[in-house]
Amino acid sequence: MTFSSIDIASYSILLLLITAISASLLNRSQKLLITIGFSLTTIASFLAVAAGAWTVGSNLTNKVILPAGLPDLLFHLRLDPLSGFFLTVIGLLSFFVSIYSIGYIKGFLGHRPVTSLIIFYCLFLAGMFMVVLADDALFFLISWEIMAAASYFLVMFEDEKIENRRAAFLYIIVAHVGAIAILLSFGIMAGLTTGFQGFSGYTFDAMRATKFPLGWATAAFLLAFFGFAAKAGVIPLHVWLPEAHPVAPSNISALMSGVMLKTAIYGIIRISFDLLKVFPWWWGAIVLVFGLVSAVMGVLYALMQHDLKRLLAYHSVENIGIILIGIGLSMIFTSFQMPLLAALALTAGLFHTMNHAMFKGLLFMGAGAVLHATHERNMEEMGGLIHKMPWTAALFLVGCISISALPPFNGFVSEWLTFQAFLLSPSLPSPLLNLLIPMGAALLALTGALAAACFVKAFGVTFLGHWRGHHNPNIKEADWPMRIGMLLSALTCLGLGILPTLFIDWMDALSEQLVGAKIASSATGLGWMWLTPIAHDRASYSGPIVFVGIMAVVVIAYVLLHSRPAAIHRVPIWDCGFEKINQRMQYNATSFSMPIRRIFGFLFSIKENVRLVSYLGNAVFPKRLHYHLRIRDLFWGWLYKPVVKASFWASRQVGRLQQGRIQVYLIYSFVTIIILLVFLR
């Protein structure tokens, strides 16, 4: 009984739905529920990875029509290389996070039933897998909002805290507005396909077959991009992301940051490359500009945070920006009929999608372990955790290096490919683009460097130095399932960093399907060790040699220096002879980011006030210093406050309609009759 790849994928979704339903039965024994529940999700995500990897690897495309949905518009499922790739990304991270959750969720055992968390966790995964498989507008939107609704309940899991509720509410509003925008865009496309005689217009195949007029295609694209940008957290619509991800349980925020944002990227690629196909160059320019703005602003906001998970959430905004840069460039190249360059840019964007899923998932899992141990999210209260949590520290370090795009790890490879795509832009015919795109390259470099600064801060303040917290709880290392989850994703980060050519060979079917050109042959021109994007003399990078080179020199130096037994003395801190050092004298998150805050201050709304309490009122003898700093996202003031104020104003006007006196109501109906009659004559 041969299984096609889509059968495996649908079995994994089925398994998830069964787990969700059966979870409520095991309500009594919570411990058992956790282990069984999450092992089932692990199996399900493994199945999804297998299906996805098989599809992309051997470039299959198969379709299935489910008997569900409206009789004239049944749910169509389709597993082609594009959905296969995203299925692999989502499956892989959910595989790691499910293992991690077995350990992490045990922390909730004491004071909260976890049944609802597991049910919605399974629905959340099932929703993501279905979004990627959907092949018609109705099923796509249904799975899109199942994913949104499930993650809404997950964000609201610890609902006694006020910021959870506020974040969940903000999240569901932005998600729903985005969904309506996507719905409108599908409506336009479906309308143009068959002119609404029947329901057949809604299937993606019908949309692929139609040639859309430019005006309507632009409207559809802009609506879809707005909708998906709201879900991906692109800058003007990102406000929910730094609110929702920190408050969710860490394994959920790992999944939300790691892969849920990727479903929005999948949506943008599916709409622009697959459904609309022909598009003018300025679409790509829009995506590129939004990508750049998100990247730079995302990292700058991240630098200002002192809440670990909020910092990671803002970094998701930055990395989504980098992915959009790759996609934007590839759209520009496609519109100028340069398939090979488009394939390179697209591969860079998709490679970064996989990388971001891996290291962001790892970082959130690490943050979860830290939160689990110290019950503290504020970095100013942590420090010196490397001594008590060596495993978590080492794995978190791997995540930090990868996200800062540093050589041996995967972050660098995708950012390097994006740079190569930028460097190819001078071959574009339009002179204006030739001048402007390199500016984007500079902004991307700035983002990379700022990310490195931010993660030195994050790792340094959290794990290094002395413990800064007032009370010091007994911190225990994360238990073994959490460590395994993190270790696996760390190894994947290293593997992708060292052997990028294998990954690019595997995902080559993707660029073939979307832009019609393969770059695998040129990318591995010099052999599997060297990654040469277009031509080997143009640019080349060899992951394995860099890793082996550094390790070789390190080992040689270590062996040579340790040939003679030289003692190591442990002494109190030198610090230029200053003895009375205490843990409050260390640099913390706010002080670390002070120089950058001073330089880029104009981008935030900063309220900083210093209050000095001095002996007998003489400022020369300070007793205590109160320093308060509040950094707020500018977009709250520009975009969201006015919208909220306007809607409350409108509702006050509408409230005046209901005055309570019956005569007024009678006048309303009387006037309505008169007006209608007048118009009629």
């Binding site: 609704a149 729903h176 509702s651």
Partner: protein, 482 residues
């Protein structure tokens, strides 16, 4: 034959319950009565499904795909409301808010109300339809003022006067309709039958009919609760006992919209222009926007869901006005899923307000902790009514929105605004009630779980897997309404 049972049982039950309305087993009889009605409804539906539209009792009654699914819906929701009202009313008796006499009155009027709605749906005669509508209004007026509180009496008075005026205007419209029909079909009762009118609608006099439609629109529009004439609805639906609010919001609005759509079909047939549709779209859009924005200000939970009913009725009217196969299909589906979801929400709201002894939303907290069924029921109900996909309401909104883009793209921003604001307002109000710790003054109670679970399961089923026969009905109804 099932038609006779369908109408006879409620009437009989009303009379019986008028005498023994307060005995211990009175609620059971009430449930039995509405269950029998529901069974008869299914029988009638099967018959129509098998043999197509049929006339009964010397074409006094006329049953086709359009009104048979509404009558099945009406009987089903009245059954589940009866189940809910058994436990709800017993709790109200314990709280001492209802006396002996009023309980008998309540049960009798409940059954009479169902009879009036079914008569209104099934009758072939436009005049009898008007009378049934008037009877439905009168039977619920006193129910709204059952608690005798000043605001209840005020709400009932406004409901009585405004709907009375509305229906009077509708009568004038019916007179004009009859005047135009008499010219073609001749004297006597023949001129008022839907069947004859629809066949001959091409030859009716357009100017008189459009004049008649204006009066019918404002008249039945008042009963549907469309915005300029909606003011009675929030008061009436929030002051009466919850089962009555559920039935009012869920069913009576549908019946009024059914009557309106019947008239629109006639007018479209005769005038041939899209005027009637445009007027309905105008009213519908105005309702969506005004209701959505007024949701933001509500303090009373039942009042908020009354405004949500105005918004959803606005959507259905807009879709019927838009016309076209997909929009009409969407509108029919919307009427079905809206009444199922809204009544289920009113059940959970009833229990929630009983648990906290108040309808103030600021005082209702921690429902999930207090009573999980009420908590999750309300949460899923609100998600469904706000149009979140797995539920059926999204499917209908999906069809209506996509049809609007094709036929009237410049209206989509208003629809989008309405949906977005309503969604935000609903979640802003409901989320504090669901989440958080349970307050001290919260008394838990045994909730009537069958109706809530039944309704939400049906809405979820329609959202994910639409049964084939239901789809068949809608397509037949769409042919009728084109």
């Amino acid at each position: 034959m099932p038609l006779m049972i369908l109408l006879g049982v409620p009437l009989l039950a009303a009379i019986v319950l008028a005498f023994i309305g307060d005995r211990k087993f009175a609620p059971e009889i009430n449930i039995l009565g509405s269950a029998a009605t529901f069974a008869a409804g299914i029988g009638l539906a099967l018959e129509v499904y098998a043999h197509g539209p049929m006339l009964a009792a010397g074409n006094f009654f006329f049953v086709d795909a359009f009104n048979v699914y509404l009558s099945v819906l009406t009987s089903f929701v009245s059954m589940t409301t009866a189940i809910f009202s058994r436990r709800y009313m017993r709790k109200e008796r314990e709280h001492g808010r209802i006396g002996h006499m009023r309980m008998r009155f309540y049960h009798a009027m409940f059954q009479l109300f169902i009879f009036a709605m079914l008569l209104c749906l099934l009758t072939n005669n436009v005049g009898v339809l008007w009378i049934a509508m008037e009877l439905a209004t009168l039977s619920t007026v006193l129910l709204v003022s059952l608690y005798r509180t000043p605001s209840a009496i005020e709400a009932a008075w406004k409901y009585f006067i405004l709907c009375g005026v509305g229906i009077a205007l509708a009568l004038f419209g019916t007179v004009l309709l009859y005047f135009a029909a008499e010219k073609v079909l001749g004297e006597g009762g023949q001129a008022l039958l839907w069947t004859n009118l629809s066949q001959v609608s091409g030859k009716l006099e357009p100017t008189v009919l459009s004049l008649a439609f204006v009066f019918l629109m404002v008249g039945y529009g008042t009963k549907v609760g469309l915005v300029p004439v909606h003011n009675w609805l929030p008061d009436a639906h929030s002051e009466g006992p919850t089962p009555i609010s559920a039935v009012l919001s869920g069913l009576l609005l549908n019946v009024a919209l059914y009557a309106l759509v019947r008239c629109k079909v006639l007018i479209d047939g005769s005038t041939g222009t899209h005027h009637a549709g445009n007027i309905m779209m105008g009213f519908g859009l105005l309702s969506i926007i005004v209701a959505a924005f007024s949701l933001l200000r509500q303090k009373d939970i039942k009042r908020m869901f009354a405004y949500s009913s105005i918004e959803h009725m606005g959507i259905a009217t807009f879709a019927f006005g838009l016309g076209g196969p997909i929009a009409t299909f969407g509108a029919l589906l919307h009427m079905l899923v809206h009444s199922l979801t809204k009544s289920s929400i009113f059940f959970t709201v009833g229990h929630a307000s009983q648990m906290h002894r108040t309808q103030e939303m600021d005082k209702i907290k921690g429902l999930l902790k207090g009573n999980p069924l009420v908590g999750w029921g309300l949460m899923f109900g609100v998600m469904a009514i706000a149009g979140m996909p797995p539920f059926g309401v999204f499917t209908s909104e999906f069809l209506i929105l996509t049809a609007t883009i094709k036929d009237a793209p410049f209206l989509t921003p208003f629809l989008l605004l309405g949906f977005g604001v309503a969604f935000a307002a609903l979640f802003k109000k409901v989320q504090p009630m669901i989440a958080g710790a349970a307050p001290s003054y919260q008394r838990n109670l045994k909730a009537a779980h069958i109706p809530v679970i039944l309704h939400m399961a049906l809405v979820l089923l329609i959202g994910i897997y639409m049964p084939a026969f239901l789809n068949q009905w809608f397509h037949k109804a769409v042919e009728l309404l084109k």
